[in-house]
Symmetry: C2
Amino acid sequence: VILTVTLNVALDITYHLERVDWGHVNRVARHGTRAGGKGINVARVVTTLGHTATIAGFAGGATGEAIREEVSRSGIAHHLVAIAGESRRTVAVVEGGRTTLFNELGPEVSPDEWAEFRETYSKLLRDCGVVVLSGSLPPGLPADAYAVLVRGAREAGALTLVDTEGAALEHALAAHPDVVKPNVHEIQALSGRECAEANDVAAAARWLRDAGARGAVITRGADGMVASNDEGTWLGLPPERLTGNETGAGDAVAAALAMGLEDGRPWPGPVADAIAAGAAALMSPVAGDVDLKAYRRFRHLVRLQEV
Amino acid sequence: VILTVTLNVALDITYHLERVDWGHVNRVARHGTRAGGKGINVARVVTTLGHTATIAGFAGGATGEAIREEVSRSGIAHHLVAIAGESRRTVAVVEGGRTTLFNELGPEVSPDEWAEFRETYSKLLRDCGVVVLSGSLPPGLPADAYAVLVRGAREAGALTLVDTEGAALEHALAAHPDVVKPNVHEIQALSGRECAEANDVAAAARWLRDAGARGAVITRGADGMVASNDEGTWLGLPPERLTGNETGAGDAVAAALAMGLEDGRPWPGPVADAIAAGAAALMSPVAGDVDLKAYRRFRHLVRLQEV
């Protein structure tokens, strides 16, 4: 079982409009509402690709209740620790090809709620061999929250993948996660390194490993990704040049990498799968959805090159 | 007690941003969530201005639960009939002086749910002398829903104010409500009459009375309003030229007119109060809020002229 941790769960609302009349009233004829947050998307992709996922996180207030209901409908096991604060929403306004996203800040999580989460987490680790830690930290949590969870997983014998940025990523590195998976913008911001060319990105991946990660994958949008671990460093390219929803793509990449960890498969096999999953997710407008047929086709078309 | 009926209740979400980055991710540092829909705003203003209000409407799903919670916090008595559909949300994006509104369509209301509402409504009429019927009709309700409720109120001895537009207003007129309160755009669209000048608006108000309304108030934004009933026709101007949230202003106007009905005060006294309440609401960014001090000051500064 792959445990996905989303400390900053959200209710994702999407409004589809042909054209937005800015400054005026817009009737939204078509809208969608889903439980969101990167780890929840990862769990959906894991499930679609045939592995079993369990969701952990926080939920509070009426919005938290809506999140719980929606996750329950998905059929994925979930353990959302109740908090006093109100869970956040995100609103995506999609008009034609353009999406404008409004992200509420997460609710404050108290020290007691964080302690209760760690207790739930310890129990869940009895059944989970891989943990995916995704997204930003809500206010109130210590900056080293992911480092604490990575260490807890290792003590329980579970492997870890961390997909976050900034200070949360920096602290997590010190706990030696098995894989980290920033995108090229996030690693540029954290390392201060220029990452324009593939060689720069490969150097950044090695920098992440020097900083503590056992394996590092840096996603580059339409330019594919760079993966590096003890066994080598690879440059991977998607089968075709695609554009689309990059949040969803990153979560699909994390899902495929976590499945590789769970199956104990050495790289670059899981890296190729991750590229295929990311490409198949790019084609879906909804984060957490992958086109399974496209994924299967892409797996054999991914181009990987050791550098 | 003034009963406000909101058949299309909403959860109103407001995002305050300094500048929106269209096509990109926007972090919303400040947001508000309120139960909304015009009748709920009317009930808030009635309460602020010292009368007692009761709220009636429909609520369903997790969003309906959030609406119920929020109305409960306001302390106003409420009777929201449970429906199978999910209550709608509205999202207002406020950047500087510009507001872009996204309105979800209301959920479908079934014939059984509508019958249950009418039963609740009959019971509430035992204690309510005035009924305010506000806003659009949700899908599933008959076009003459307001006419049915106006007739039910009259049989119970209650006076009625209808604030809606289009077919819902047209049908309501046939049931002879005591006051109708469209704005100048709504009456132009319904009557096909040009309403540029005060005289045109006065003629439109008389047209509304010919069509069945006992009294008609047409709001004209910063240009004030025209009111007409058996006792005369008046042109009212706000104390100063103000701009702001016109939805909130219209609901404050309805609240003051309903209070006049409840107190049995002849026009134009309540019309002057309505102009003052509308002006005091324009100054608040949140629909349903009026600045009580401004209202009291404005009451003595309103200019009324019989035409």
